[in-house]
């Protein structure tokens, strides 16, 4: 499952989307908005995406993960728009028969997402300044 959404992410739903009877492990990663960045207090974040290309690249990542590890199901949900401190920006859930594969694939998906998927974060600080990360 791949989704870009402007609605708050429900981690429980992302987990449920990948659970399967044949899977004994579900690995989950949540990216959440931190209250500080570059030594300054964060007011909020804004996420922007080149949506159709982002979905393609995310689909590529799922295919690569599936070719590398024995997996059940995978779900990646990324939030767009304005997020407050503490909110979830991205949720990734991976199920597998065993934990080694689930954990490895989950780590791979977030690491590669951050390298190649056309999504951008703008940090807005309490002091009124802002910058694209």
């Amino acid at each position: 499952m791949i989704r870009l959404t402007r609605e708050p992410i429900e981690a429980g739903q992302v987990i449920q989307a990948v659970q399967r009877p044949a899977c004994g492990a579900v690995a989950v990663f949540l990216g959440t908005v931190r209250d500080h960045s570059q030594g300054k207090a964060v007011a909020w974040l804004e996420y922007e995406a080149y949506e159709p290309m982002a979905e393609r690249r995310l689909s590529d990542l799922l295919a690569e993960a599936r070719s590398r590890w024995a997996l059940g199901e995978m779900a990646i949900v990324h939030r767009l728009g304005r997020l407050a401190v503490g909110e979830t920006s991205v949720a990734i859930a991976v199920s597998a028969a065993h934990r080694a594969e689930a954990l490895a694939a989950c780590g791979f998906l977030i690491d590669r997402l951050k390298q190649i998927v056309p999504i951008w974060k703008k940090e807005v600080w309490q002091d009124g300044t802002s910058a694209w990360a």
């Binding site: 995406a49 080149y50 159709p52 290309m53 990324h78 991205v90 951050k114 390298q115 056309p118 951008w120």
Partner: protein, 81 residues
């Protein structure tokens, strides 16, 4: 041929617009597009080669030949997740 280019995030800020148009000769490459972009919007020079170009939603090398109707986007360094 007229090529429309979507500029995302800091690239859009530097150009002052989210969509720009450049006029290119038939057979122009991504490298030619880059020169046209920085020629008309010099602020984009600040990104240099860190501005990747996507053609039809795939990252494209500088020698990629552009065709009329191609969907082109300027992709600055990504920061999702």
């Amino acid at each position: 041929m007229r090529v429309e280019v979507r500029l995302f995030a800091v690239a859009g800020d530097l150009a002052g617009r989210r969509t720009v148009e450049v006029e290119l000769p038939a057979g122009a490459t991504v490298a030619d597009l880059r020169r046209a972009l920085t020629g008309q919007w010099p602020a984009l020079e600040a990104l240099g080669p860190r501005l990747l170009i996507a053609v039809n939603q795939d990252y494209a090398p500088d020698d990629r030949v552009l065709a009329p109707g191609d969907e082109v986007a300027g992709i600055p360094p990504v920061s999702g997740g």
